[in-house]
């Protein structure tokens, strides 16, 4: 499977160095290595979800307990989480860090991913969620740190979109 192990390691290390100790996730091809790393790391709690929106509640509870967490999901998981994002994370001002695999963008070969890809950025924009696209592994740690800093100072969700350039090796 040509998912980049090296860049998955970069991403996982970046999440850890940002102090994140809890990840909620639903398996997705691009995220399998990160999830396995989380599962194998005794300092990381991984909660595997049935549906991504649960992760909004879990991260909210973790935040109230003073713990740093992130949601790890595909952009279709973002779509299914919208009500939770709006009516829990935004309503209650939760610094929700969302790390999202950006399927359906340039270079996507799976037809079923393309509709979700087309509307991911417009959706984030209409929700007023500030986001960055991550393509260059050299600045992943920096971008994760910056995103978390903004989430915590603004007390709002912030998103990082993992692009094909970062996650996939042809």
């Amino acid at each position: 499977m040509p998912v980049s192990v090296k860049n998955s390691e970069v991403l996982f290390a970046a999440l850890k160095s940002a102090g994140i100790t809890l990840l909620s996730a639903l398996p997705e091809t691009w995220l399998v290595h990160v999830m396995e790393m989380a599962e194998d790391d005794p300092d990381m709690t991984l909660i595997r979800l049935n549906k991504e929106e649960e992760g909004v509640g879990i991260s909210t509870g973790a935040h109230f307990a003073g713990r740093k967490s992130a949601m790890l999901m595909q952009n279709h998981g973002l779509l299914t989480s919208v009500n939770g994002i709006v009516s829990v994370a935004q309503l209650y001002r939760i610094p929700l860090l969302m790390v999202i695999s950006y399927r359906g963008e340039m270079g996507e070969r799976d037809p079923w991913q393309t509709e979700g890809g087309r509307i991911t950025e417009p959706l984030l924009q209409s929700l007023g969620i500030i986001y960055r696209k991550l393509s260059d592994p050299a600045i992943v740690a920096y971008e994760v740190r910056q995103a978390q800093t903004l989430a915590e100072s603004s007390l709002r969700p912030v998103a990082l979109l993992l692009t094909r350039d970062l996650m996939w090796e042809e």
Binding site: L22, T45, I47, R48, L49, N50, K51, E53, E54, G55, V56, G57, I58, S59, T60, G61, A62, H63, F64, A65, G66, R67, S69, N83, G84, S87, V88, L91, Y92, R93
Partner: protein, 189 residues
């Protein structure tokens, strides 16, 4: 049983637990019994109170966490019962008040009124300790056992579809949010 009477019976115990309620009648009835800084009323995000409880419970292993839920909310996020059963935080009690109704929006009947069995679903999801408690005495005992238990507890109580006369609460939702977070982080540190 009236939910209010069950809450009254367990209030002395609940007072010292990290507690999350759903919106509507449950929130108002608990608030009217006496607000505590460790009470959080989730006024929207239907279905996510149990997920919040999971996030709190795994992050606060030394605290008892209780979620006061309802049939409408649980039906909206049934997968959460399965996630709870999968991770079974030993310090979490998930108490579902089942009035077979979406009471706070006008009393429309839910699927528990036509046969959906939430306790059965919780059991089949893999939860080990599922208790039915439909009287005040049974509720008091089930909650006492849940509070002492080192294991995930799920309580399902059939209650009458009767709520408070007013849904007004003299607490802003952000006030509740920041007070709760500050209090909980004090417990954690």
């Amino acid at each position: 049983m009236l939910r209010e009477d069950a809450l009254k019976a367990v209030y002395p115990r609940l007072k010292s637990q990290v507690t999350v309620t759903i919106m509507g009648a449950v929130a108002v009835e608990l608030y009217n019994l006496g607000h505590q800084p460790n009470f959080f009323y989730l006024e929207h995000g239907m279905g996510l109170a149990s997920s919040m409880g999971l996030g709190l419970a795994v992050s606060l292993p030394k605290e008892k966490v209780t979620v006061l839920d309802g049939d409408g909310s649980v039906l909206m996020n049934l997968g959460s019962l399965s996630t709870l059963a999968r991770y079974r935080p030993p310090n979490l009690t998930h108490w579902i008040f089942d009035n077979e109704s979406l009471l706070s929006v006008g009393g429309f009947p839910t699927a528990t009124g036509t046969g959906t069995d939430l306790a059965g679903i919780a059991e089949k999801a893999g939860a080990e300790h599922v208790t039915l408690a439909d009287t005040v005495e049974a509720a008091e005992q089930a909650f006492a056992e849940a509070s002492e238990r080192d294991g995930l507890s799920i309580i399902v109580s059939k209650v009458e579809a009767i709520g408070p006369l007013s849904f007004a609460m003299d607490i802003n939702l952000l006030e509740n949010r920041f007070e709760f977070a500050r209090h909980i982080q004090g417990l954690a540190s």
